[in-house]
């Protein structure tokens, strides 16, 4: 096992996450910022964020393995590995968010097929299984099976994303979430997060300047800019439709984002970090380097986290007005985030980073290198 400053930092993040998880397990919901009015908080946003990155990365990788985009192939293996690590982080966070994970056996004993949450387990299970298999085949360079597997994995990723979209879109109680566009929103934003993460991965690969790296950077630059354009269309659509129709519940949630208690999060941490600053950074560079693209990707990833958070909170921040006249003044529900919840998010990042740092070890295990050879390399502890 390689140990350097990044490994230590990742381990510290994971330990901090474990401390947060322990606090939540001991003190329950009191250690979380969630309330009866805002039952889903930053941990649900974190789960969405990490699984979104995973599926997004897979879809970017599929460009290479399904559509033969050569620029993706050099970083393809890392994209797939990060997709697995990100999914693990997402599941780890969800496990703590669930109040009674020990009752999970009833998932199988008394399943409810009308629940999108029920479908998430088998769909993400299939996706993870296919993703791991695809990664093994890519690492072992088993060329003949890579493409069909990549197609199946990409389909399973899309289906899983559609399921998350339904999870929110089905909720008639929350007009901000409710609607048929929700699955498409999740697919597009996940692809955006996948491209941002791929940009960071391209930087990690591109420190040694080669022609191949340059091609990858160029391609991801085009992809990033195109996806930013798509995101702008989504934002304009959501904003204009929300303002124009003034649908009760949806309109107030939108105002909470535009001018209300979520406005700093929305304009500075979401719009600026996810789109505006990365766009300026990419466009202003005369000669785009991997580091600038990587930095733009990192900023986008930070912004996309707040995109997830804002989406989750905005759906619940508007009181349901069960009895009150919808036209009455709205007093938004209060929300907060505790240190334990932040710790879990950092823990999720730590898990991803730690697994990435140990990828060579994982690759060797996948390749079935003999133990003696592993020992000869001097960096593997068995």
């Amino acid at each position: 096992m390689k140990i350097n400053k990044w490994t230590i930092l990742s381990a510290a993040f994971i330990l901090f996450g474990l401390a947060g998880a322990a606090n939540i397990f001991i003190h329950g919901e009191h250690a979380m910022g969630t309330t009866n009015k805002i039952p889903w908080g930053i941990l649900i946003a974190g789960y969405e964020y990490f699984v979104g990155i995973s599926t997004g990365l897979l879809l970017v990788a599929a460009l290479g393995y399904v559509f033969h985009v050569k620029a993706i192939i050099p970083i393809g293996k890392s994209l797939l590995m990060f997709a697995i690590f990100s999914l693990i982080s997402g599941f780890a966070i969800l496990l703590v968010e669930l109040g009674n994970p020990l009752n999970f056996i009833h998932y199988f004993l008394t399943p409810n097929f009308t629940s999108p949450i029920w479908w998430m387990a088998p769909l993400y299970g299939i996706y993870l299984m296919l993703l791991v298999t695809l990664t093994v085949f890519v690492v072992r360079e088993n060329e003949s099976l890579i493409r069909p597997l990549a197609i199946m994995t990409a389909i399973s990723a899309l289906v899983a994303l559609i399921c998350i979209g339904f999870l929110f879109g089905f909720i008639i109680a929350r007009p901000y979430w409710n609607g048929p566009i929700s699955p498409l929103y999740f697919i597009l934003t996940s692809v955006f997060s996948g491209i941002a993460m791929a940009s960071v991965i391209a930087y990690l690969h591109g420190r040694k300047k080669t022609r191949k790296n340059l091609e990858t950077v160029k391609f991801l630059r085009t992809l990033s800019l195109s996806m930013m354009g798509v995101m702008v269309v989504i934002y304009i659509g959501k904003t204009f439709v929300g303002l124009y129709g003034q649908v009760p519940g949806k309109y107030e949630s939108l105002l909470a984002l535009l001018t209300g208690p979520l406005s700093f999060n929305y304009w500075v941490l979401e719009i600026s970090l996810a789109i505006v600053i990365p766009f300026v950074l990419i466009v202003s560079a005369h000669k785009l380097s991997a580091i600038k693209l990587g930095l733009a990707g990192l900023l986008s990833l930070t912004g996309i986290f707040f995109m997830r958070f804002n989406m989750v909170i905005a759906g619940q921040i508007t009181p349901l007005k069960v009895v009150k006249n919808p036209a009455e003044e709205t007093v938004f529900n209060l929300f907060s985030v505790t240190w334990s919840e932040w710790a879990l998010i950092m823990g999720g990042i730590g898990i991803m980073a730690m697994l990435y740092l140990q990828r060579e070890l994982l690759e060797r295990i996948i390749k079935h290198k003999p133990a003696t050879e592993l020992k000869r390399h001097g960096d593997v502890t068995l």
Binding site: K37, G99, N103, N112, W118
Partner: protein, 179 residues
């Protein structure tokens, strides 16, 4: 088999909160959990204003979103119309809380989103639920919607009634008499 329903006479409610206290006492609820709440509806413009107090709780919907979204069937609809929770099956995903348009769910100490159960143990003894039984002004009339001769059905026929958030399509089992 009976199918339970509730008729609420908001104009009779004084806002004494006895229903709330009886419910908390019967269900041994903590101080931060309440299955019943009184919502105040103000209408009109000063000086022509009216105020109405509406008791709000789980509506025991026929098309209950909490039942549809629960991944383990921990929340289920009984044959008698009561939406019940089996805490042993609940994984604590809180989807029911997010999905309920009536904000009826309250998370308890065990991280189970609880709510009004219409006190089935009292119904089995032929008694009214704790909230209905304690109300001094008989704001809540509990009864069998399937029995044409029940007091509930007679009163439903007499009054113009409405349900909360009818447009959501949840088909609640609680009716409110129009003022």
């Amino acid at each position: 088999m009976a199918k339970y329903g509730l008729l609420v006479f908001p104009e009779r409610c004084t806002g004494c909160n006895a229903c709330n206290i009886a419910c908390a006492s019967h269900n041994q609820l903590g101080t931060d959990v309440s299955y019943n709440r009184l919502e105040i509806l103000e209408t009109g413009t000063y000086p022509n204003v009216k105020m109405e107090i509406l008791p709000v709780q789980c509506q025991h919907c026929d098309n209950a979103p909490c039942v549809s979204v629960c991944p383990t069937q921990a929340t289920y609809k009984r044959e008698d119309g009561i939406v019940e929770i089996d805490a042993d099956k609940c994984i604590g995903c809180k989807y029911c809380m997010a999905a309920c348009p009536y904000e009826a769910r309250q998370l308890n100490e065990n991280r189970v989103p609880e709510k009004c159960r219409w006190c089935p143990e009292m119904l089995e003894k032929g008694e009214q639920p704790a909230c209905s039984a304690t109300c001094m002004n008989e704001v809540r009339l509990f009864g069998d919607l399937e029995d044409p001769n029940s007091q509930l059905n007679k009163e439903l026929a007499k009054h113009e009634v409405y349900q909360l958030l009818e447009a959501k399509g949840t088909k609640p089992s609680i009716f409110y008499v129009k003022k």
